[in-house]
Every structure is written in C-alpha cells, then in structure tokens.
C-alpha cells in the first residue's frame, strides 16, 4: 500500500513539477520583464491560491470541474469522464496550489539578471527566444531550482486539495500524504510514523543529492559566480 502510494505521489509530484516548469517559467519571465501597467495585479493574483485553505480551494475546484459547470461539462464531453477523482484532477489541483511557490522565486531570479547581458545578447542578434534559453534560464537557474524544490516538496506534502479533488482512493488518488493522514486519523501511530519516516528519508535523500550536486558537480550549470 505504501509502495503504491509512494509511486503515485512521486508520479504526481514529478508531473506537477514538470507542468509548473512549463507554465511557471513563461509566467515568471513575463512577470520579470513585462512593462505592462497592470502587471502588479497579475503578480498579486498569482499569489492568491495559497491564501485559501487547501481543502476549500479543493472544494471550489471540485465544484468548478463538476457536472454543473460549463467547464466540467466541456471536459466531460471531451474526455468522456470527469476531472474529479482522477489523477489528472489531482494534477490540476496541485498545480494550481503550488503555482506561487514555483513562479515567485523564478520571477525574482529572472528579474535580478544584469540587464546589460540581455542587451549584449540582443546585440549579437539573438532572438528573445534564444536569449531566454541561453542567458535568462541559465543565469536564473538558482531561482528555477528553488521554485522547483518548493513546489515539488509542497506537492508531496499537500493533502487538502488532493484529498478533496481526489477522494482518497487507494491506488488511484491516495498519495502518501493522505495515507499518513489516514493512518494518523486511525490513531495508528506506529504505521504513520513509519510511513512519515520513509517519506522524510526519501525526500531528504533527494534534496541532499540535489543540493550536493549543485555544490560539487553542477558547477557548470549554476555555480559560475
């Protein structure tokens, strides 16, 4: 059961991190470099999901994707099933809830890049796209990494949204967090401790490897200062 939950959780966290990379980086880029007047409104909105209690956010998402809204009906018509209580639903909810943790550190890092380097890149004929890939992304990597670690860890730990949207179905939507939560709820502390310990050790190992890599081997990537 814990293996199943762990696999599911990792799949979820990796999926969510991947999606947050794909949507978070462009969003962070926009936040860092746009000169629109109303940018600050978007900045504020991006941070909003996390001020709601996760269960409540999950509840609203559940309602939004339910059969009584156009969105829900449209998705149902498209895929033949509802978003709720599926893995995709979990992904949606987690992405929404971890978005600020991913986007904000990335945007901060991007904005801190020396403007002269972006100028130099443009002067060498590089498109925005190339400048992004070759200059902004590598130099903003520490921020991207921070965003990823925070949202990855947060996805592992979050259970309010996941519980609400996923419905705690073992093998399908029961993540390790929910499992531990269940075990604590069942007052089965011994098992809960064991599960929590496994989760903590796993994450600790992953993080330690990541940070250790950054420090030692990964110099090429982000320790060029």
């Amino acid at each position: 059961m814990i293996i199943q939950a762990l696999t599911l959780t990792l799949r979820l966290a990796i999926m969510v991190s991947a999606i947050l990379l794909v949507i978070g980086i462009p969003l962070a880029y926009w936040l860092a470099f746009s000169r629109r007047r109303w940018k600050f409104l978007v900045e504020a909105i991006v941070s909003l999901p996390i001020v709601l209690p996760p269960t409540v956010l999950g509840f609203y998402v559940l309602v939004a994707v339910g059969p009584f809204t156009p969105l829900g009906r449209w998705y149902q018509a498209l895929t033949g099933h509802s978003l709720a209580f599926t893995f995709e639903g979990l992904v949606l909810g987690s992405v929404l809830y971890s978005l600020p943790f991913a986007v904000q550190p990335m945007a901060t890092s991007f904005a801190a890049i020396d403007g002269k380097l972006l100028d130099a890149s443009a002067l060498l004929g590089a498109s925005r796209w190339r400048t992004f890939w070759r200059i902004v992304l590598p130099l903003g990597l520490p921020g991207v990494l921070t965003g990823l670690v925070l949202s990855f860890a947060h996805t592992l730990g979050e259970f309010g949204v996941v519980l609400m949207i996923g419905g705690n179905i073992p093998g399908a939507t029961q993540t390790v967090s929910i499992l531990i939560y269940d075990q604590v709820q069942a007052l089965d502390y011994a098992t809960a401790n064991r599960t929590a310990l496994i989760l903590l050790l796993l994450c600790f190992t992953m993080l330690a490897i990541l940070y250790g890599l950054r420090r030692h081997g990964g110099r090429n990537l982000w320790e060029w200062r």
Partner: protein, 236 residues
C-alpha cells in the same frame, strides 16, 4: 463478483477494515475503503465521486443525498448507533468512573476536546450532553475542537487536553484501549447518534455494494460492529 469502493466516516476505520476483510474472505470480492470526514465525503459525492457505498457518521448526510437523488433512498439504513464516552489519558489522576461528568469541572482540567459541533455528529452530541448536564457554560472556555472525532481524541491522547468526549468506537480501538480510561455517557443525555448508510445512485456495482451492505447489516456484521464499540439499532 465485483470490486467496490466504499466511502466511510473515519470512526469506522477499524470496524470496517475488519468487516471488509471478512467479507473478502467469504465472497472473494474486493472492497476498497476510503475514509474521510462525512462532510468531505458528502461534498465529494455531490461532485460525482466514484464510490459505491457511503457509510456516514450520521443520517443527515445520506438523507440529504437521497433527497438530491444521489443515493438510492431505498437502500438508506441506519447501520449503527454511536456512543459518547468521557475519556482521560492514563497519566491523569482523575477517575472518570467516580467523578463522571463532574470531572470536567476539576481545576486540573484546562482543556476539553470534542469534535467540531458545527459539522461533526459526535461534536453535536457532545454539546447536547454538556447542555444536558448543565455544564455547557461552565466549561465553554475549556473546549477545544477537533476537525473530526479522531482529532479530538488526539488532543486528549497527546495530553494537551486533559479530558475529551469521544466516540466509544475510538476508546475501545487498539490504539486507545490501553492508553486511557473512560466513562460511557448515558444514552439519554444526547440525541441518538444514528449512523446512516446508502448505495450511490451512480454506482456501477450495485449488486456487489448491496451484498456488502447486507453483510454489514447481518448478524455477523452486527457482532463485529458491537465489538468495535457500536451498537446496532434494535429491530434489525
């Protein structure tokens, strides 16, 4: 035989696991259990959760679902009646059997844990009992509220609350049985805690769901439930 998914209130954790295991052994069908607070489960069923059977901690939720047509009204049953106990941890010097509800007035009792009366059935029962004994106002400032009855139990069990009004089913559970003492409140001191069950209208495995429901309601099921601190409604 088909596999079914059962949504159940957290206080059924031990009882249902036992029942499901016995049922699986007997019939070979697989029962997947998904526990949660009845309120959450209710919201989820409204959202179209793919459960076959819903064991609630009260009857109000399944009744509301029946009105909405989300569960089959014909399958709606009261499968058990919950009991409230006054529980103190082993380390406590207070004796619930002797002091009964007056225990709550002892100065050493700084916090009393109950489930949230706004939405948890056991919380509502606890408030009613406090009112019944005329303690409601005297202990109001000592109350702390768990999201559900399990959290209320954890408050006392960890020693942070010195006493709690919790479910008998938890008090006799393996986790708590040896860590504290309890006194069972008289049944007339709070409205009967009827726990309702129903088969979901959207279930794709209704025969199997009904089979499991029948098993829980059978004499054998009743014995198991009693064993875990529930009483089975009379006339069944």
């Amino acid at each position: 035989t088909q596999d079914i998914t059962v949504a159940a209130a957290s206080d059924l954790n031990y009882a249902l696991k036992d029942l499901a295991a016995r049922f699986e052994k007997k019939t070979g069908g697989k029962v997947t259990l998904s526990f949660g607070s009845s309120g959450n489960l209710y919201s989820q069923i409204q959202g179209g959760a793919p459960y076959d059977l819903f064991f609630s901690a009260d009857v109000a939720y399944p009744q509301k679902l029946a009105v909405a047509g989300l569960v089959e009204s014909s399958s709606l049953r009261t499968y058990a009646i919950g009991h409230l106990v006054l529980w103190v941890p082993n380390g406590s010097s207070l004796d619930p059997q002797r002091l009964e509800m007056n225990l709550l007035l002892q100065p050493s009792v700084q916090h009393i844990a109950i489930a949230n009366p706004q939405h948890a059935p056991y919380g509502r029962a606890a408030m009613a009992a406090l009112e019944h004994f005329g303690l409601k106002d005297k202990v109001a400032s000592k109350l702390v509220f768990g999201e559900n009855i399990s959290q209320a139990a954890q408050f006392v069990q960890s020693g942070n609350a010195q006493a709690g009004l919790i479910a008998l089913s938890l008090a006799v559970s393996p986790a708590m049985k040896d860590s504290g003492r309890y006194w069972e409140l008289p049944a007339d001191s709070y409205p009967e805690l009827q726990q309702g069950v129903a088969v979901l209208s959207a279930s794709k495995h209704k025969p199997a769901a009904k089979a499991f429901l029948d098993y829980v309601l059978s004499a054998e099921g009743a014995t198991v439930l009693e064993q875990y601190g529930f009483r089975v409604p009379p006339g069944k």
